[in-house]
Symmetry: C2
Subunit: 457 residues, 2 copies
């Protein structure tokens, strides 16, 4: 039976977590030994290890290597249940959320951890033309497009002796853009070089367009320079200070200074903008006005919820907003929307609930920054290490650090081992990975054949 929203609270407080990403899962694990009843709601059945999603997009790993059913992760946590559903309303005065299926879930504590998604800066019509990378579906769609471009080019060579230029355009020079561009350069230059007879995949171009003056703008300047040098070495054409002004099927229009250029693009990928999940808006503007007026929930311009140093929106001490959806400032800087703070915020929310249950005051949240890193192709990376020592690493040492950290955080032993095995095998054999094209076989903007082939006689 559904628990009616008005039911008398049971002896065990009900903790409701929305979202099964890093923040939500760490919150769930944090309350494992507390006397609470936990429900975790996610519209997907699986947790996605987002830092490795680009390796699925570029056909090195399989989706199941980096994604895992949330209910399997929590199967041995007796106080946890998992529900696949989409939250469509939050009523903080009634302490209940409503779901797309019609279900109503009451809570004593609510932890909102629904993260962020792509932002096309108001040009949602660009989405089908330039997919971004947030979900397993996004990754397999990018994989499909990149692999298909080579197949269509080979086919057109057989038919017409020519093919459109194989330009891969990545928009946005943050960590995702850098990793995607580096990985495309890698697979085209190393892994696919012997696969085709008519075309030479290593002659394809990879263009990385970044609006600001340097890639990895959130990193120290010397690491940005290292990253750009590594990308250039791989053959990626890095265009900083270049803003995309328009795009369409098969082309991107970009502006550098006063010059506007139109670039042909067989595949365009979007790694430029991020906006908060719509749950922030639901919290800020509930469908029905609350019976008990609370201080207004405020959003920043990307839709993130402003939270205090207990990660609560003002006046809602039993609602935590954690992970990429939270706008939390520390020492005058906003904590970035990446995995590490998300994990720490999730754990913090669980600790705060534990403190409440023991009648102790909640500590304030502080983000403990261990550093950041991004890979660039096959055996190269940059790492801004803050803890346990301070260092700016580049090249192979950074790459080994990256491997170690990412293997360590992969959830589940089999995944760790399978991923490591796949990497070792792929890196040392230039092997194929998971280069499957599934789904339909068209690319937006792929040119019609220049002239019809003569009919069979």
């Amino acid at each position: 039976m559904a628990q009616p929203a008005q039911s008398v609270p049971t002896a065990r407080p009900r903790v409701l977590i929305i979202g099964g990403g890093f923040a939500g899962l760490n919150a769930a694990r944090g309350v494992a030994h507390l006397p609470v009843d936990l429900t975790l709601v996610d519209r997907r059945n699986h947790h996605t290890f987002q830092p490795l999603l680009y390796q699925v997009a570029l056909a090195v790993l399989s989706p199941a290597d980096i994604a895992q059913p949330i209910r399997s992760i929590l199967r041995n946590q007796p106080n946890a249940s998992v529900l696949m559903d989409e939250v469509t309303g939050i009523d903080t005065s009634a302490r209940a959320v409503s779901c797309a299926s019609g279900a109503t879930l009451a809570y004593d504590y609510l932890i909102i951890a629904t993260g962020a998604t792509h932002s096309y800066f108001g040009r949602d019509d660009w989405a089908p033309l330039a997919p971004g990378l947030k979900s397993v579906e996004d990754a397999t769609e990018i994989r499909r497009r990149v692999l298909l471009a080579f197949e269509l080019a080979e086919r057109q060579m057989v038919e017409h002796g020519s093919h459109p230029p194989l330009n891969f355009v990545v928009i946005g020079g943050g960590p995702t853009g850098v990793e995607l561009a580096g990985a495309i350069a890698d697979i085209t230059r190393l892994y696919m070089r012997r696969d085709f007879r008519q075309i030479d995949p290593s002659k394809s171009r990879v263009l990385l367009l970044e609006g600001s003056p340097r890639v990895l703008a959130a990193y120290p300047a010397d690491l940005s320079a290292k990253a750009e040098a590594s990308l250039t070495h791989l053959g990626v054409e890095v265009h900083t200070g270049t803003r995309v002004t328009n795009l369409g099927p098969g082309w991107v229009e970009a502006k550098h200074g006063d010059t506007t250029t139109r670039i042909e693009a067989v595949v365009t990928l979007w790694a430029a903008g991020v906006q908060a999940s719509p749950l922030g808006k639901l919290l800020a503007a509930p469908p029905s006005p609350p019976a008990t007026p609370a201080a207004a929930v405020q959003l920043d311009k990307r839709g993130c919820v402003l939270v205090d140093d207990h990660l609560n929106p003002p006046g809602l001490p039993n609602v935590f907003v954690v992970g990429d959806l939270a706008h939390f400032e520390q020492d005058g800087h906003q904590v970035p929307g990446v995995a590490q703070p998300a994990m720490q915020m999730g754990t913090y929310a669980a600790h705060a609930i534990a403190a409440d249950l023991k009648g102790k005051p909640r500590p304030a949240f502080r983000y403990f920054d261990k550093g950041d890193m991004a890979t660039i192709g096959r055996m190269d990376a940059v790492a801004n290490v803050v803890w346990p020592f301070k260092a700016h690493l580049g090249g192979f040492p950074a790459w080994i650090t990256w491997i170690a950290v990412h293997i360590f955080f992969l959830i589940g032993f089999r995944n760790r081992f399978a991923v490591l095995l796949t990497w070792v095998w792929t890196y040392f054999t230039f092997s194929r990975g998971a280069r499957l094209i599934t789904g339909d076989q068209s690319l937006p903007g792929w040119p019609e054949k220049p002239q019809p082939s003569p009919p069979l006689t």
Copy 2:
């Protein structure tokens, strides 16, 4: 440049293979060291190891574990090129095929190996309601439906305290139907038992409907009986002599003797009918009548091409039809449409071409039957071993044989090792495998919620 169909034959004969399944790949490898130019055309970019497809459908293995890009398989074969395209016409008098892209491919030898697909016996409207299992896309669609049924049931329990009966209906008791039914019983009873809080997946029902008097009708009767006993032991309800007369969203209507029963079904799977690929028809009825009339190409009732003991249709000695598309009779029996004869036929076609090039007579094709096997759930199988000794195996010994043979035939070392590792891990830990739901979140026929949930107050 495209090779015009009329071009003067080069010194090296052009071998064109249509289809990259077992038959096509074995033919391609068979001509590796011959002085020929090989082109292999397939509408997919990957070879699918079909005997393990049901393990993808039931979320044990990932698609990339059992599928591999055809061009990677042939990358080290210098005389081979691969084209992803769909053949739409065959002109045996002009010795050319035409493709969906508009390309025309001339040949001196043509090897048609496009296999078979599902047959809904004229009821193609059943296809979206009861998916079959031939491709990676089919497998992920079945996976999506089976996993989603449990998620929707759990969700409906939270909302309404009830859910529709979790009946999984498998139509067809051949090897695929037996393997699917056994595997569903397995994952629901063993692997998912601790994942849900509201529903008990082990209380779901698995029904296997077979029109003929026994399952695995092509096997010796004692192995059919063993298989049925094993299925029953796993909890599968085996209904032989039961024909499906109709089906719709959420239900199947079946007739046993004079009794017609309507069965509620949250997921219906189709493993009943097989029909040849449409390429047989293209060969039998070319778009334009051939300039040189040849003996008519004949098809059997499933659309398979009747071939002589050189695997040629009558009057076409340079056209080989191999694999499931071939209707070849030996000792008064039709050779079955399974992997083993397909491999042997592919290899034979290459040998026949080699004999031609050496000016020697072609030997006649003979199918060398080593036996057949099918798994039933987790550690059980039946095997009709013919070579190197004759035996009817069941239970664990048959299962170990099955594992060994299938690992051995998996193409590529990494796959073999990864698959073995995944199996060992999954079997001994009751672990999750690859239980991802991707794509949309609806099931045909899933009932509307019985009553709307009360609105948030």
